[in-house]
Amino acid sequence: MNDYFKQLEIAGEKFNSRLFVGTGKFESGEILKKSVKKSGSQMVTVAMKRANPKGAEDSILDFLDPKIVKILPNTSGVRDAKEAVFVAKMAREALGTNWLKLEIHPDPKYLMPDPIETLEATLELAKDGFVVLPYCHADPVLCKKLEDAGAAAVMPLGSPIGSNQGLESREFLRIIIEQASVPVVVDAGIGTPSQAAEAMEMGASAVLVNTAIAVSADPIAMGEAFGKAVEAGSMARIAGLGAVRSNAHATSPLTSFLS
């Protein structure tokens, strides 16, 4: 019998949920907390540039219980490998974790990940004992190279970050998923629960969602909706999807003479 609820495993740690949640753009810490809870997510990313002393008015950390969710610091805001390595080490000391979502985007407009700097930083950080989850383009060769460099998972984008455009990169994601020997977490651009389910049905190990939950009129309900969609997509993948056909196949006009 298939195990529909197979746990996600990254670097030896297991997670019951395959939904990662980003913590930016929420209207309050309380809403963030409730939304994450309802989503069932066990992995949330926090930008180190937003990390503030516990007790500070806008401290995100105050609303996240490390006993329930794993806090995955990210390097958002850095522009090259050197800065990323610096922030990674700062995060390690600050939060007591060697896990890191590596994101390097020198372009502040579309926040496109820099493949060259990301590869370089992954190599250096992995050597230094970090569990590196790099955000990258949906580039199959790059993902294999990141894997070789020591990435614990790869996080290719579905479409531009925050765009809610969905899986515009799906043909490349398929190749990445097919070739990967580390978990593939589809990050960026997922705008609806159905798109998250689609990524899971394609065989992604997990998805990361932020904007679509945070800017929803009801982020708490939307968190739950994404949690359910990810679970449904994952189950469907394991259960085995039927083949897609463009026409009905009731008869076999070319080979019926054989019978």
Partner: protein
Amino acid sequence: MVSFKQKFESTNWSTISEKILTAEHRNIELALSRSGSGGLDDFVALLSPLAGKEYLEEMAQLAHRLTIQRFGKVIRLFAPMYLSNECNNICDYCGFSMGNQIPRKTLSLAEILRESSALKKNNFEHVLLVTGESSTKVGVDYLLEAIKTLNDCFANVSMEVQPLSEHDYCKLINAGLHAVLVYQETYDKVSYSKHHKKGKKTNFDWRLDTPDRLGRSGINKIGLGCLYGLTEDWRTDSYFAAMHLDYLEKRYWKTSYSMSFPRIRPYEGEIDPIVDLKDRDLVQLLCAFRIFNHELELSLSTRECPELREQLLPLGITTMSAGSKTNPGGYSVTEDSLEQFTISDERNPKEISRMLSEKGYEPVWKDWDSSYHGKKDNLTGVSFSTNKKVLKSNSISSVC
């Protein structure tokens, strides 16, 4: 590549003005339907009197949606810190103008630290340093010391001072400077000469070239804007600001940009605004800029009154000042040096923060970390105990 100055000089003011005035329904509807992706052509249409008259609500709805999508339900807060009101310029709209017989004050390092403490008590992590223009009393060395000192106290230090050379900007960036705001005031050369009567600020071209020098120096963020009220044709003036932004964004693609919309406020000076930019016009400007550039930081200062600030919030604003003092030492040291302009929203930071929460926005005090750039020499990875923020057992303590 063509410099902005060349681009600027080859663009005819009256041709642009005519295009704005004659924009038709179809131009505006196209701009709205494609969310401004037609660039400056769409901006022209959105800036037109016709758009202001017939499409303002539609523009506001779109601007709101685009802002929420990109920035979420958060507003970043910052405080200006006026370091000096010394100024060698004579500008007929500014309280610091050399001709004004007012007490002059430049903060000492000790006074700067006192101001810091006062701001820190109110949660501020982003601070904007402001001065007049006096290269002898407030030169690069003074600014360097101030930035070094404040970088140890705040997560983000920006400045709005006289235009500097590329070499000097590099020095300040290495010391931790994050952003520079340098408003052209007006892109109308004739009007510019009329309002800037004496001093280095009379040099229109030097100022116009400043964002290029900043871009070349690798600054994180550049703030642009016009001072509305100086030039009668404010629509064309703002077109040139948009054109400047468009040029810079393509050329210095690693830098981010902000746009401000200051309107002339009362001060101890000489002129009334040449033109009164109405609230409705301000709304149109804000929306047009948001639709033109979805990622642009739009900033609103305490120059505007509380009621209007609240109404403008959802239209595209991403950054606000709160509880501002526009005189050097205003937060802690002294009350007697003169203000640059009179603020209109006098609510304290706590009140602003509460208002934002009530309106469904999270007030964000920290959205940067001064250790990100400019301190690369510290990349030893051995210990951050000497760094200002040492985080232990999941908490961050600050020495400031």
